[in-house]
């Protein structure tokens, strides 16, 4: 039986996948849209980390003389009604979006993984009860669930992260449970049991790493969703409060009345939200193709 030497085949096709850079170049050529998504996200992360180096004005300092100033050489994206520089607020706003996005994703996924893994691995009545609970949590749209949590917890940066993360738990628990159900029947789990490994250790050391691929695909898709929910909550005045320069809140301040008088207050923050979510969607699609070929689009 002949076998295919993938390295030789790839080398013949001009791909050098021996070095990490070569691998990246190969993936970027193979998935150009995914690479574009990664670049957009990288720009946002860069802006968030180095916000104080790439802006001149303080995003919080007000100046009545500059109220609703048009975009100019000094204030590239204009100023808001309190005379705050819109460019600086958008750059600093990346911190809020990413902090809420990654924070709630991290918290939601951690809870989801623990619940999904326990439910799938233990099976029986635990699984049945957890599945019903997930059904219940999934019977509300994400934003409505987040609204319910905000109504209960009150608007603040920390509560926004908690509210969104609770809304994210069911889907990650479901994905991990589905993978765990098939993995626990695999021979390597039986071997681990045979050599006397504890159930907890098998679940976390052997089963969990094998559920990572679908989880990464889900996490990328959900990063965009969390950013959109944060923006919507802040737009409604129920998310990240002042003085944080949240993109959603910037739009709520400038909503319908500035549509006529100061369109830059509407265009740029929305463009920032859409770009980062577009980036995560592009990257998510590409990662799904790489990591989960059965769902290839």
């Amino acid at each position: 039986m002949s076998s295919i030497d993938y390295r030789a085949e790839l080398a013949k096709a001009g791909a050098n996948i021996d070095s990490p850079w070569g691998k990246l170049r190969f993936l970027a050529r193979r998935y150009p849209l995914g690479a574009a998504g990664a670049v957009i996200l990288a720009v946002c992360v860069f802006a968030a980390v180095f916000a104080n180096y790439i802006t001149v004005f303080d995003p919080l300092s007000t100046n009545a003389a500059l109220s609703l100033a048009r975009p100019s050489a000094q204030h590239w994206l204009g100023c808001d009604f309190m005379g705050r520089d819109v460019y600086s607020r958008i750059v600093y706003g990346a911190r809020i979006s990413l902090a809420v996005g990654l924070g709630s994703l991290g918290l939601g996924l951690t809870c989801g993984v623990i619940i999904g893994l326990t439910s799938g691995y233990l099976g029986g009545w635990v699984d049945l009860a957890v599945q019903r609970l997930i059904d219940i949590l999934q019977s509300l749209p994400l934003l409505v669930m987040a609204l319910l949590m905000t109504a209960s917890l009150g608007p603040s940066l920390r509560n926004t992260i908690i509210a969104i993360s609770i809304a994210l738990v069911p889907s990650s628990a479901r994905v991990v449970r589905a993978s765990t159900l098939s993995l626990r029947e695999q021979p390597f789990v039986e071997s681990a049991k045979a050599i006397g490994m504890s159930e907890l250790r098998i679940a976390f050391r052997h089963v969990l790493p094998n559920t990572l691929a679908p989880l990464i695909v889900l996490a990328t898709a959900q990063l965009g969703a969390t950013i959109l929910i944060e923006a919507a909550l802040s737009f409604l005045g129920l998310g990240v409060p002042e003085p944080y320069p949240s993109w959603g809140r910037m739009l709520s301040e400038s909503a319908a009345e500035y549509v006529r008088t100061a369109p830059w207050l509407v265009i740029f923050p929305g463009l920032a939200i859409s770009s980062i979510v577009f980036g995560t969607n592009l990257l998510g699609d590409a990662l799904r193709d790489v990591l989960d070929p059965r769902q290839r689009s």
Binding site: R132, I136, L140, L147, L148
Partner: protein
């Protein structure tokens, strides 16, 4: 099928019971109840008066009693009183339902009429420039917050027509209502349209590879007959499911779009009630949303068997 239906119906009731408990508990653990809020606003606390208000609102009773009286009332159509307006909650909620229902219906219609044909075109023209454009546009639609799209549409109206299509008075005629609701409906439906496009495309691509499509082609059927009569008919099942799910989940988009367009519907009312901490309204509205979602999910499951004779739920 019979026993599946009974089991599925039982699960639906269980889910509704569970969500009602979650809604009730979440709103009870909120920091500060309405009595605290009223006194916060006044700036002083008269303990006797506060106790009287709590008694009047039933907040002094044990939680299970409060829950039972809420559910009991809900089953009889008594939703309690709004803390803010002091009117029966049902009188606040009922007149707003038709407004939101109209926008949701129009949004779904828009999504299906645009999304499904574009999905078919995208699949038939796979890997052509048109396909790439449609895919990028649909992905952009999924990335845009609905409230931003709404604001851009308002901006476009101001620029081109000099008017702003936000709700001011109740429309008097059918035509006026159609005009008034169709713009926000298109904004809400834009995202669903993109989802339908993507799903129709992938479902069509799968069907177009089937043997019976090749057979139809070899028998000389025209491209349109193959695509719309043979392929789409078989590709449409997951799309119908998604339309059902979107019908239930449109609320997320409606919440922000009603706010942008100043529409006095249920979704905007929910946001206002949360801001005022008018818990009887919040509690009942979220329960109402949950009932719609769960019932629609149940109906979609049942429709599955009706639409596709290959699916039979075993007894």
């Amino acid at each position: 099928m019979g026993s599946y239906l009974v089991r599925r119906f039982g699960l639906m009731l269980l889910t509704l019971f569970g969500i009602s408990v979650i809604i009730f508990v979440m709103l009870r653990i909120a920091p500060g109840n309405i009595a605290d809020i009223l006194f916060d606003a006044a700036g002083f606390v008269d303990q006797a008066e506060k106790a009287q208000i709590m008694k009047d609102l039933g907040l002094d009773k044990p939680m299970p009693v409060q829950y039972a009286s809420w559910i009991g009332g809900l089953l009889q159509g008594d939703l309690g009183y709004s803390y803010v307006t002091d009117r029966p909650a049902i009188h606040e909620i009922l007149p707003r339902i038709p407004i939101t229902a109209r926008i949701a219906g129009l949004a779904l219609l828009f999504a299906a009429v645009i999304g499904i044909p574009l999905g078919v075109i995208s699949a038939v023209k796979q890997n052509t420039r048109l396909d790439y454009i449609l895919r990028v546009v649909s992905l952009s639609a999924l990335s845009m917050p609905a409230f931003w799209l709404g604001l851009l549409v308002l901006m476009g109206f101001v620029g081109y027509f000099g008017t702003i299509p936000i709700y001011s008075d109740a429309p008097q005629s059918f035509g006026a209502a159609l005009v008034m609701y169709s713009v926000p409906a298109a904004v809400v439906g834009f995202r669903s349209q993109a989802l339908l496009l993507r799903l129709t495309r992938s479902s069509m691509l799968e069907v177009l590879r089937q043997d019976y499509i090749r057979t139809a082609r070899s028998k000389g059927a025209s491209e349109n007959v193959v695509n719309y009569r043979h392929a789409l008919k078989n590709a449409v099942l997951p799309v119908v499911t998604l339309i059902g799910l979107e019908a239930a989940f449109l609320m997320g988009g409606l919440v922000v779009v009603e706010t942008v367009f100043n529409i006095p519907g249920v979704a905007r009312f929910l946001v206002e009630a949360i801001r005022w901490r008018d818990y009887p309204i919040v509690q009942n509205l979220i329960m109402y949303i949950a009932i719609i979602v769960v019932v629609v999910n149940f109906t979609v499951d049942m429709l599955y068997a009706a639409l596709d004779p290959r699916i039979k739920y075993s007894d």
